[in-house]
């Protein structure tokens, strides 16, 4: 457990230090969402309708942007070899990497989302369902992304490859996430929002297993 926490602590510390690239995802999220209203025009009703979808798409892309460095930075300076040879099971090491990715990417974006929602004319009653859905769904992005990052660890400029590998698996998160976030805004029959949130939680829990196990298996193959 100590080893797990020390790796999370180190990665968060690295991301927040100068040159660590921790702010990249947040700024990308901010840039994308601040240019959307200019592209769409001043139709407030339209902005409200697309706000949850835009926020989720931007969240997905921001998470992808930082994934390629997840294992590659450690591989380039030899750290990955020593992480693999350590007493801690590789699955836990991958989980620790995914947790720190979420802490430095997913969590800041969830916190920033309401402010950016305002720019998209997202009504106040839609803020909490949006943040709730993002909080439940965003861990899945880091966990599933870890598998893609592990598979492409030996590939230079592997970002594109990660996107191709991971995006299909992000689609359920996007669908349930947007559905859960919109329920408060659009009148829908039945309790569609609650069901979507539950399904989103199911996706996150499934990736909690798939991510570490798949990521560790992929790393073992990729380094050899």
């Amino acid at each position: 457990m100590n080893a797990f926490l020390s790796l999370v602590r180190r990665d968060v510390r690295l991301a927040t230090r100068v040159g660590g690239g921790g702010g990249m995802a947040v700024f990308f999220f901010l840039i994308v969402l601040s240019i959307v209203p200019f592209g769409i025009g001043p139709d407030l009703n339209l902005l409200t309708r697309i706000a949850p979808g835009m926020l989720w798409v931007a969240l997905l892309l921001s998470a992808l942007l930082t994934l390629d460095r997840l294992f590659q930075a450690d591989q380039e300076d030899g750290t990955l070899d020593l992480l693999i040879l350590a007493p801690q099971p590789l699955e836990l090491t991958v989980l620790a990497k995914a947790v720190s990715h979420w802490l430095t990417t997913g969590l800041p974006l969830v916190i920033a989302a309401p402010a950016l929602g305002l720019m998209l004319n997202l009504p106040l009653e839609g803020m909490l369902p949006l943040m709730g859905a993002m909080l439940v769904g965003s861990p899945a992005l880091s966990l599933l992304g870890a598998v893609g990052a592990a598979l492409s660890v030996g590939v230079r400029r592997g970002g594109l490859l990660i996107s191709l590998l991971v995006l299909p698996f992000y689609v359920p998160v996007l669908i349930f996430g947007v559905s859960a976030s919109r329920a408060a805004l659009v009148a829908v029959p039945g309790d569609l929002g609650g069901q979507s949130l539950l399904l989103l939680g199911a996706v996150s829990l499934a990736s909690l297993v798939v991510g570490p196990v798949g990521g560790a298996a992929a790393l073992r193959v990729a380094i050899k």
Binding site: N2, R10, L14, R17, G78, D81, A86
Partner: protein, 205 residues
Amino acid sequence: MGLTVTKLSCVRGERQVFRDLSFRVVPGEMLTLVGPNGSGKSSLLRQLAGLLEVTDGEINLDGASEDQTIADVVLYAGHLDAIKAPLSVSENLSFWAEFYGVSGIQVANALEAFSLGHLGHLPAGVLSAGQKRRLGLSRLALIDRPLWLLDEPTVSLDTASIAALGDLMRAHLNTGGSIIAATHVDLGLEGTRTLDLNSIRGAQA
């Protein structure tokens, strides 16, 4: 901890690097790997550490218990130093102490093994190549593992640091540890054996 290698082969990118390599290392012994660039010294060390696929042959630990794997006994120091530039010198080493389950009190001692104590607060990014190498090697003093695998450990080290490394290695051998190192520098260690990877290939050709 001893190690027995039987008929080990290595293929990299469809090229046969070496073939049918057999040797044995007993506790307290050091084996020096020599050979020209590309003769497979680094590949052999990575295979022994379990970081590179073994296409043919066997690597066995002597006197290991059933559930002990090679990853539990080796300490690998490759040609990369595994140092994070934004972290300070002591933060770098403290992380490895925690990650390998070593008490944090050992960190200061390990830094002193290569006279890095006074640099502890500096970001590792400002260190010179030799100082970075010393920081990487101070893991040898930090983490207690019976089998050391060293890949060109003396690169960019000054004379005093090479002597410090020699002392560290001698102490490790005296306590029953074993070392397999690829190096062309004489570290002044007694009773080391040499394995020339080129002569093996030459004999097969």
